[in-house]
Every structure is written in structure tokens, then in C-alpha cells.
């Protein structure tokens, strides 16, 4: 499955799509990136006169690339004509640590490694890096994906 195809199957759209491109994907994990444009709506209020990317948005970005895009790929390995119309997706747990802030117009890279995908539950160890390759945040995210 091509990267473009995976992105097209994501169940998000702007202003809540946080995947620009995917770089690598295999049975062990996935990586992708996203640039937070300065015009994004959340900078208007987070914080007052001091735009910083909210941690929940960083977490969402990690989940969209590291769990949902990756989950679509993993499901495509088991199902030839992948039909995601009725796919049920739910975030079930996050455990995240944040190290440095991400400012408007910064590009981040997400690297996700699979811990397990069993009985519809995908759990990954996910890291985010900025353009200087500095660790922005790291943690574990799990979700349920059922066709």
C-alpha cells in the first residue's frame, strides 16, 4: 500500500489532519512528518500572545501517524480489499512525556515502533523529533481498530 493511499484512508481532514507525509513503514513500525502552520486555529488561544503547539495536538499527531496510519497499513496486510467505511477506531490510552516546546511553522517527525497488535488493540512506543533531531516528546499510545 502506498503512502499516499494510507494518508487518503485516514479518517481526518483539516483542521484536524496532522499528517503531511509518511517516510517508512514496515511490520515493525512507521515514521512520518507534519508541519504546524502558523495560521493553525489553536495558536490563537494557546497561549495568549505566545503561540506554542499544545501537548494534546502533539499527542494527536503522534496518534494519527504512529497508530492510525500505521494501523491502516497493518490491516491492509491482512485484508486485500481494505474497506474502512465501517472501521471502528478508538484511542484507549496515552502515557506521554514532553521535553521541549514546538513553535509555529516547525516541522516534526514521528517515529513509532510496534509493541503489539493483538485482538484489535495496537500499542506503540512513539517518539517525536524536531528539525534539529531533538527529542520533543516520547511515550506509549494504544488504540483499538476493528474492521
Amino acid at each position: 500500500m502506498t503512502f499516499e493511499k494510507i494518508i487518503s484512508l485516514l479518517p481526518y481532514e483539516p483542521p484536524f489532519l496532522f499528517v503531511d507525509e509518511l517516510h517508512e513503514v514496515d511490520k515493525e513500525g512507521i515514521s512520518g512528518s507534519y508541519t504546524y502552520h502558523e495560521s493553525a486555529y489553536f495558536y490563537e488561544g494557546h497561549f495568549k500572545n505566545n503561540p506554542v503547539t499544545p501537548g494534546v495536538i502533539l499527542t494527536e499527531t503522534m496518534a494519527q501517524i504512529g497508530l492510525v496510519a500505521y494501523g491502516i497499513y497493518l490491516l491492509s496486510l491482512t485484508s486485500k480489499n481494505l474497506n474502512l467505511t465501517n472501521t471502528k477506531i478508538a484511542l484507549v490510552s496515552t502515557e506521554m512525556s514532553f521535553y521541549i516546546p514546538v513553535y509555529p511553522n516547525e516541522k516534526v517527525k514521528v517515529v513509532s515502533k510496534k509493541e503489539y497488535f493483538r485482538m484489535n488493540k495496537l500499542k506503540c512506543h512513539v517518539e517525536m523529533f524536531n528539525e534539529k533531531e531533538e527529542l520533543v516528546c516520547r511515550g506509549k499510545i494504544a488504540g483499538m481498530m476493528k474492521l
Binding site: A90, V92, S93, Y116, R118, M119, N120, K121, A142, M144
Partner: protein, 85 residues
């Protein structure tokens, strides 16, 4: 071969971190239902199954996992998998 009591206490140890109803856990019997009584969510049921696999060194297939909804059924699955090991 692990006897029944040890198996039950091992299982309780595995379940404990995921329970949301302490009272039901304190009064746990074979009939105790993981979801309805202990209020464990389906995502954590998967964690319990994976922990059971590690603890007893067995592999639990999806069909068996679907059956593991209460204490009695979980013990049965563990015994079944141990006996065919």
C-alpha cells in the same frame, strides 16, 4: 502443573491493576465477570490476556480470548492451554 488455587491467585494478581470496582474484586468468585463486575474495559482485557500468556508461558488464540469474559472461563482457557503445551 499449577494447581487451581495458585492459578486463581496468579490470575487475581494479573487482573488487579486493571479493575475499576474494588468491592467486586474483594468478593471475587468464579462467576465474577471482567466487564460487568470488575468494570474492566475491552482494551485492558487484551492486556490481561497478554499478561496471562507471559505468566503461564502459553499462547491464547483469538477464539479463546473471546471466551475469557469471567474468572471461570479464564481459568478453563489457562488449564486447556497448559494441558496441550
Amino acid at each position: 502443573m499449577t494447581n487451581n488455587e495458585t492459578m486463581l491467585s496468579d490470575l487475581k494478581g494479573i487482573i488487579q491493576p486493571y479493575i475499576q470496582n474494588q468491592e467486586a474484586f474483594d468478593n471475587l468468585t468464579e462467576a465474577t465477570d471482567f466487564i460487568n463486575d470488575l468494570k474492566i474495559n475491552s482494551a485492558n482485557l487484551v492486556d490481561i490476556v497478554l499478561d496471562v500468556e507471559d505468566k503461564f508461558d502459553i499462547e491464547i488464540d483469538n477464539d479463546s480470548m473471546d471466551r475469557m469474559l469471567n474468572v471461570k472461563a479464564a481459568l478453563e482457557v489457562i488449564q486447556e492451554k497448559l494441558s496441550t503445551k
